[in-house]
C-alpha cells in the first residue's frame, strides 16, 4: 500500500486536487544530451555504444557505492571520508568468497557464476554493515555536528581500515577475475559489449529500484526523507533520530560493500586503496546530485560514468579532471546540485 494513499473514511469526500509537481526532466535531458553529443565526437557508432555501456556500468557501480553516502550526509550531516574503507572491505571480502567458492566462480556455467557473485555481494554487504555499525559507534558518534573533526577522524578511520586490510589480505594487489561465463563480450555489429557490464547495469538498476521503493513506500523511508530535510522536527514528532542514524549508516556502509565487489570485478584488480580512490568520484557524484538526494546521485553517477568513458577515449590527458570539470559546470548551473533537497 503506498504510504501516501488516501485514508478517507466513508463519510469523508475525496480530495479535490491530486496534482504533484512535474518531474524535473532537465538533468535527465542533460544525460541524454551528453550521450548524443558523444556520438559524433567518437565518430564510430560501435565504439560509442561500447563506451556508453561502459559508462552506464561504471555509473551504476558508483551509484551503488554512493547512494548510502548521500543519505548519510543528508540525514546525519556527517562528512564521512572513511566511506572508501567499506568499498575496499567489500572488494576483499568478495574476493575471499570467490576463492572459497571457486567451484562456482570458476565454473563455465552462468548460473553458478551468478550464484558466486550473489553470495559474494551478500557476504560483503553483511561484513560492511557490521563494520559500519562499529565505525558509527566508535568513530562517528563522538563527532556528530563537528565537521572539521569528522573530516579528520574519518580520514584517520580510512587509513586505519586500509592498514587492517593490508594486515589481513596483504599489501599487494590481487587479481579479481570476472567468472568465465560473464567474461568476454557480446558482439553486436562492430560493437563489443562486455557481459559483466550488462550485469552491473542490471544490478545498479535493481538497487536503485529497491532504494526508491524503500524510500517512497515505507514509513522508515518517509522518516529518512523527512530527516534529510529537518532532523530536529523528526525528533520533535517523537521518533528516535539516533536509531535512524545508525540504520542509515549501516545500510550506507552495506551498499558501499556491495559496490566494492562490483567495482573490484569491474577493475579486475583490487588493492587496499581501491575504496579511497573511488571515494573521489563518489563525492563528485553526491555533490552533483544534490546532497541527500538518492535520485540526484543516480543521475550524477550516470553522468560521471559517461563523461569519464568518453573523455578517456577522446582525450586521455583530460580524462583525469573531466569529472571535476563536470562538477564545476553543473554547480555553476545548479549550485545546490541537480536535485537539491529542500531546506539543505
Amino acid at each position: 500500500m503506498p504510504i501516501n494513499s488516501e485514508p478517507f473514511s466513508s463519510d469523508t469526500a475525496r480530495p479535490l486536487a491530486l496534482a504533484r509537481p512535474p518531474l524535473d526532466w532537465r538533468p535527465i535531458a542533460l544525460v541524454v544530451a551528453i550521450a548524443v553529443i558523444g556520438l559524433p565526437l567518437v565518430h564510430s557508432p560501435s565504439t560509442w555504444l561500447t563506451l556508453t555501456v561502459a559508462g552506464l556500468a561504471m555509473g551504476m557501480i558508483i551509484f551503488t557505492a554512493a547512494s548510502g553516502l548521500t543519505l548519510i550526509f543528508g540525514l546525519m550531516d556527517v562528512l564521512n571520508f572513511g566511506h572508501g574503507v567499506f568499498i575496499s572491505l567489500g572488494a576483499f571480502v568478495g574476493f575471499t568468497v570467490f576463492g572459497a567458492l571457486s567451484h562456482f566462480s570458476q565454473s563455465p556455467r552462468l548460473d553458478l557464476n551468478l550464484t558466486a557473485i550473489a553470495v559474494a555481494v551478500l557476504v560483503a554487504t553483511f561484513a560492511a554493515a557490521l563494520v559500519g555499525l562499529i565505525f558509527e559507534r566508535i568513530i562517528i558518534r563522538p563527532v556528530y555536528g563537528e565537521h572539521l573533526k569528522q573530516i579528520l577522524i574519518t580520514t584517520g578511520g580510512l587509513i586505519i581500515g586500509e592498514e587492517l586490510i593490508k594486515a589481513i589480505w596483504g599489501p599487494e594487489q590481487h587479481s579479481f577475475q570476472i567468472p568465465p561465463a560473464l567474461s568476454g563480450a557480446f558482439i553486436w555489429g562492430d560493437a563489443a559489449i562486455e557481459k559483466y557490464r550488462i550485469l552491473a547495469v542490471v544490478i545498479g538498476l535493481l538497487i536503485y529500484a529497491a532504494l526508491w521503493l524503500a524510500l517512497t513506500r515505507t514509513k522508515i523511508g518517509l522518516l529518512v526523507r523527512a530527516g534529510v530535510e529537518d532532523r530536529d522536527m523528526v525528533a520533535s514528532l517523537g521518533y528516535r533520530i539516533d536509531r535512524l542514524f545508525i540504520g542509515v549508516f549501516v545500510v550506507g556502509s552495506a551498499l558501499a560493500g556491495a559496490g566494492g565487489v562490483l567495482w573490484g570485478l569491474y577493475q579486475e584488480v583490487i588493492t587496499p586503496g581501491l575504496g579511497a580512490r573511488l571515494n573521489v568520484l563518489i563525492f563528485i557524484v553526491i555533490i552533483i546530485g544534490g546532497l541527500g538526494s538518492v535520485g540526484g546521485s543516480f543521475v550524477g553517477a550516470v553522468l560521471v560514468g559517461l563523461v569519464a568513458n568518453y573523455a578517456g577515449f577522446l582525450a586521455p590527458k583530460v580524462a583525469l579532471f573531466s569529472n571535476i570539470l563536470l562538477m564545476l559546470l553543473i554547480l555553476m548551473w545548479r549550485p545546490r546540485g541537480l536535485y537539491p533537497v529542500a531546506k539543505r
Binding site: 504510504i3 488516501e6 473514511s9 523527512a226 522536527m233 520533535s236 528516535r240
Partner: protein, 250 residues
Amino acid sequence: MTNPERSGASLNLRGVHTHIGPYHILHGVDLDVAPSQVTLLLGRNGAGKTTTLRTIMGLWRASAGEVVFDDTDLSHLQTSDIARKKIGYVPETMGIFSDLTVAENMTLGARSAARTNAIDPARLDWIFSLFPMLKTFWLHPAGLLSGGQKQMLAVARALIEPARLLIIDEPSKGLAPAMVEKMIEAFLRVKETRCTLLLVEQNFHFARQLGDHVAVMDNGRIVHRGDMSTLIEDAELQQRLLGLSLDAHQ
C-alpha cells in the same frame, strides 16, 4: 464530531538556564503552564521565548533547572521521548517537510500509523473539520502550500496524535488577517478539548482572544505572570512590559 483529547497536563519550569555555545540565553526561567488552559508567552524579539520552547522540547539542553511535565522531569530526556509524553510542538519555522506531501507530513505526525490508511479516521475527520483545506491539498507537496496553509498543516500534524500539551511558536506569524481569524477559530476549538496550550505570540489580537494566562519575558527571564484579562485591561502594564499597547494591535 469527536472530542479526542483527554485532560491537559501542567508544565512547570523552575530556574531554567540555557546556554547556546558561549551565549547565556535563559537566566533562570520560572514558568507555570496551567492544565487545560491557554498560556501565552509574550515579549520582545530576542527575549528568549523561542529558546524557552526549544528547551522544553530538549532541542537545546537546559544547563540548569527543571522542566517538569505532569510530575516528570523532562530536562534529561531526549526530544523524541519528550514528544512521546503527548507533547505536540510546532516551531517558529513550522517544520514542514517541503519535499513530502500533505498526506506524508500527516502520516509522520501520526506515530502510531504505519501508513496513511492507518491514521485514525475519526481523528482525521476532526482535523479536517478544523482545517478543511488539508483535504483539498492532501496529495500536494507541502512545499507548494501558501504560508498560511503550511501553518495549518503544521498545527494539524501536531494534533493528529492525541496531545496533552501543545506548544506552538508564533502560530499567526506572517499570516493574512483572514487566515489569522481561521487559525483563532481552530484554536478555540482545540481549547474546548481541554488540551493544555502554550503559545508564543506577537500578534496581540490573536493572543487576547485565546489566552487565559500570560507570561512576559525579557532578557531571558519571566518578568510578569498573570491573567490575560488583567493585562488586557491595564494599558500602563502593557506599555511597561511590551513597549506598546494592545489597542494599537487590533
